[in-house]
């Protein structure tokens, strides 16, 4: 039995997040509405402190709370992604909340609590704990998606997300039950050798259902249909969060299961393979014909889930999963940076009520707001996978891992898909730089400094990690090696 103090250290980021969430909730009724900016500030601070608090689990690695939670390099890495995403989203949404006249208090509190849930998913070594983490992030996401209460689209998005999400949750929970039935425990790392064939069948079924639940959360085809509607309807900063944090945390959980449960790899391999291919094609082909940038980015995020699934399939295909896991982690970092930046730009350029999110509305942005256009182009080029951006290296590592594991077809399909993807990303850049501005003037709002800061961080990160990936990939590799 470890000391409770050490256990507390191992969940320090979650404690910080929850504490700040409650602080913000307590302050929300006190602070006058005109000064709600202070709540955002506190929340940004909270996310930042949580990010700093990852120092504690780094100092005391190991299992906490009788082995239900684990602080290791892997969970640390994912914590950085989710806490970083929360930090950037809260910071970047400050001006958005003011513009759209939304309450900052609950918004920030929900993001912080959702992030805590994601952190728990990253470290959970037991399915019920993971489930509660998953639900924390999911329920908060449902509410955030419908946060713009006076916008029917936002309400619809929240409702859809909630209904389909519950459907998927039911599968996940049922899977946990079957898993328990087969192994007699919900612990991931304490799989007893299975008694007989029957237990094996139950385990297979349980893992199958768990897969469905996770695939829904990461919006992998064929469970992705909710994503475009929800991403489009939700307020853009929320979409930025939805498409990064929960996805990273869910992938982390999937990787944890793959690494800990020996039976999962052979069982999931083909499911991952098929889901990866379906996601890449479904995402990219559908993105080709979209007219709304928000929706196009939603489909593109489905495609990117497919790319990450390639890395997962690679991890499932081999006994030595490290290359695949490291590639997935690295990809998630780059993807999160870029996707966040892109959606926050959409939130800004969409104007009041997000009325201008069609691709044609972005015509001539390069002249109206050159800095924004340059940032968005950079992010799109990174999604496209152009060298010297982090997106290229992400694809590079995934590609390499796939080939090293002899998944040649998966690698070829990945290459093919990145060709298709070129078309629709370029369309946006063409619109911004090469098309005349639309007839009715779209006012160029000044970019608030908070958003500038976020975009600055995201674009610098995109290029910096693209040029000097050594530390990030080094840590990802360390995290992958540490998992068993």
């Amino acid at each position: 039995m470890s000391l409770p103090l050490q256990d507390l250290c191992r969940v320090a980021p979650e404690i910080v997040l929850c504490a700040f969430a409650m602080l913000v909730m307590l302050l929300a009724p006190i602070v006058p509405r005109a000064r709600h900016g202070i709540l955002s500030t506190i929340s940004v601070l909270g996310a930042g402190i949580a990010l700093a608090a990852t120092r504690f689990p780094a100092m005391y690695p190991g299992a906490a709370y009788s082995g239900l939670f684990r602080a290791d390099a892997f969970s640390l890495f994912v914590h950085w992604i989710v806490c970083g995403a929360a930090f950037l989203v809260i910071l970047g949404s400050t001006s958005y909340l003011q513009r759209e006249d939304l309450d900052a208090g609950e918004f920030c509190a929900l993001i912080l609590l959702a992030t805590a849930g994601m952190g728990i998913m990253a470290g959970a070594q037991e399915l019920l704990t993971a489930f509660i983490g998953l639900e924390m992030s999911s329920i908060a996401s449902y509410i955030l998606a419908s946060y713009k209460r006076d916008a029917p689209r936002s309400n619809e998005a929240g409702m859809k997300y909630f209904l389909l999400g519950s459907f998927a949750t039911a599968f996940f929970l049922y899977g946990i039950a079957l898993f328990f039935g087969a192994s007699g425990s919900t612990r991931l790392d304490m799989m007893t050798p299975l008694a007989n064939d029957s237990a094996r069948t139950l385990l297979k079924m349980g893992l199958g259902f768990i897969f469905v639940g996770l695939a829904f959360k990461v919006a992998a085809a064929p469970f992705h249909l909710w994503a475009p509607d929800v991403y489009e309807g939700a307020p853009a900063p929320v979409t930025a969060l939805l498409s990064t944090g929960p996805k990273a945390a869910t992938f982390a959980l999937a990787l944890r299961i793959l690494a800990d449960v020996g039976a999962a790899s052979p069982l999931w391999f083909w499911a991952l393979w098929v889901a990866a291919v379906l996601s890449m094609f479904a995402g990219n082909l559908a993105a080709l014909v979209q007219t709304s940038l928000k929706r196009m980015l939603a489909y593109s995020s489905v495609a990117h889930a497919g790319y990450i699934l390639v890395a997962l399939a690679t991890a499932a295909a081999t006994d030595h999963a490290e290359a695949g896991i490291a590639a997935a982690l690295f990809y998630l970092v780059g993807y999160a940076l870029v996707q966040l930046g892109a959606f926050l730009i959409v939130a800004q350029l969409g104007g009041p009520g997000e009325r201008h999110v069609e691709i044609e509305d972005f015509a001539g942005v390069a002249r109206r707001q050159p800095a924004m256009a340059a940032c968005l182009s950079l992010f799109l080029l990174s999604l496209l996978g152009l060298p010297v951006t982090v997106g290229f290296l992400g694809k590079f590592y995934v590609f390499n891992a796939a080939l090293e594991s002899n998944l040649i077809w998966l690698a070829i399909l990945l290459g093919l898909n990145s060709v298709i993807a070129a078309y629709y990303y370029l369309r946006v850049i063409v619109a911004m730089y090469m098309l005349r501005e639309p007839e009715q003037e779209i006012a160029a709002e000044p970019v608030p400094w908070t958003l500038s800061l976020v975009l600055w961080i995201a674009s610098m990160g995109t290029v910096y990690i693209g040029l000097f990936p050594a530390r990030v990939i080094g840590f990802a590799a360390k995290a992958a090696l540490n998992m068993r």
Partner: protein, 691 residues
Amino acid sequence: MMPAEYFLAHIWMIPLFPLAGAALMLLIGRRLPNRAVSAVCVGSVFLSMCFAFGAIWQLIARPAADRLVSFNLFDWVPAGAMHTNAGNLMDLHVPWGVLMDPLTAVMLLVVTGVGFLIHVYSIGYMGHEGGYYRFFGYMNLFMFSMLTLVLANNLLLLFVGWEGVGLCSYLLIGFYFLRKSASDAGKKAFIVNRIGDAGFLLGLFLMLGTLGTIQFTELGPAITAGHFEFGNGTLTAIALLLFVGATGKSAQLPLYVWLPDAMEGPTPVSALIHAATMVTAGVYMIARTNAVFSMAPRALEVVAVVGCVTSLFAATMGLVQNDIKRVLAYSTVSQLGYMFLACGVGAYTAGVFHLMAHAFFKALLFLGSGSVIHSLSGEQDMRKMGALWTKVPTTARTFVVASIAIAGIPPLAGFFSKDAILGHAFEHSPVLWLLGFITAGMTAFYMFRLVNMTFFGKSRVDHEVEHHIHESPSAMTVPLTILAALSVVGGWVGWPESLGGSDRFAQFLAPVMAQHGEETAAAASSINSMEYLLMALSVAIAAGGIWLAYRLYIQRPEMPEKIAASSGFLYRLLYRKYYMDEIYDAMFVNRTKDLALTLGAFDRNVIDGLGVDGSGWLTRFTSRVSMWWDSWIVDGLVNLAARVVWILSYPVRMLQTGRVSRYALFMLIGVLIFLGYYLRSSGFTLQNLLH
């Protein structure tokens, strides 16, 4: 490193000057006056050129065996130590490093030298255009990417430059973005190139997996150490995949379609990117990885045949073009085909030699055409030119020099390089030689058709334009003159031994190139007499082409009209300029944009062929076929691919109805499929169910 070799130790700085220029332009360029913009951007390229020349000088000063400088700036893409499926430890390290050897030296010479001249030229050419700073910013960015590509010491870093030049090419083709055709052409170039890039990347990874390295200097030793037999299947696959990348970038069959459209960009761009530097990147890459290619005879065979067929094919298309830049574009595709032919027959040196010579005279041709277009206030149609010899004397003279050079008349540059290629091709296979030989004749013909239609004969220039004809400013004519001088003397470094030279160029490059077993000095000397014969034949067919062009377009300029008159309707049809313009637009500008328009393209092609260039029926026929091929099969395929993608996305769009119940249903189907798979894998069968 000795301090005496300052430039060699600082080659990594060469790309940084243009990068700084580009960054400056794109950040604050809008506020700078044109004069400052040109000072910064041309100055940065000038600095690059000085460093490059210094480095080349110091490289040559070294003894021949020691002409290799390679060092890593930093560890770029590490992967940590990870296990892979194959059981080996993956310890991937790709450095950001530079390499300087004779091959790099040649490329540096071309890129910085020609690049600098074109930058100077652009001061004059772009002087009156909007977006001056943007143009120079992109150009500097291009120089940075191209220099990164050339200086890279590994394939992945080369790929960075490779994608970078692609991006800049896209930006610069679409420079006149208010023209829809321009932005479409840019997009087309980028996407076609992406197809090639996918092949490149696959080849790169396969190389990494097979040889364990993508460092150029380690390729040869790795192949030796790996005991690969000659013609090894994996090496062949690597070579072929890399070649797919090369066909995209260097506009070879079947991915050449973007290059003619790329002429939508400003002319200096065509000269720099689409003639002298970027499009030769494919040839450079193959020469760089020659250690792999030399072990893969099948792949080399493919390279040779594709190069040869492309060169013939493009030349036939060049015969009927009326847009001065498009003739040059097809000519570029054709000449690139020559370079690939050279690489394919194992004569990498000859390929690189032609690359260099071609850079000189083709840049000159493009710049000359730009000067002509400039002086004619933007006119690009050769049928509206003529008799410009005295009006733009410098342009005309330098242009003719370049035309003689490309036609292959000794002692100009083109003769030596083309002759070297044809000689090697003949040793390899007389059929390839014959095709190349015919192409040489066509090259001479279409170049002098262009010269005759532009500078000689009767003036067909519009009246309004005629008053404004003027020689271009000296910022443009001085680079022309320098390039003309280079086109004359540039080939002398490769003066072959059979003509009393010592082919210093080949000797210079020899350390870089894999030794090819077949090419021994003995074999070369035994066919010495053959070599003279081949040379004589090449010169003869070039002269024949020039003569034919002279006869058809100068001596008997009425001949096309005569033939036209014999079919009166067509004659009248074509005599009206308005109508011609429309056909021209439909055929050449919009052709690739609209599948529907291609339906009528065949007829229009025939009409055009009969009326305007009613001579040389046989060659016309072949060119018709290739035009038809171009518009129907190739563009058809491109359009078909777009259609297929569109159709494939249909079910996806159908599913996305927005109804939650349908989404849930679809999820259920997904679950059932996954469950079904697990059932099957757990030994579930119908029999089981019945029991």
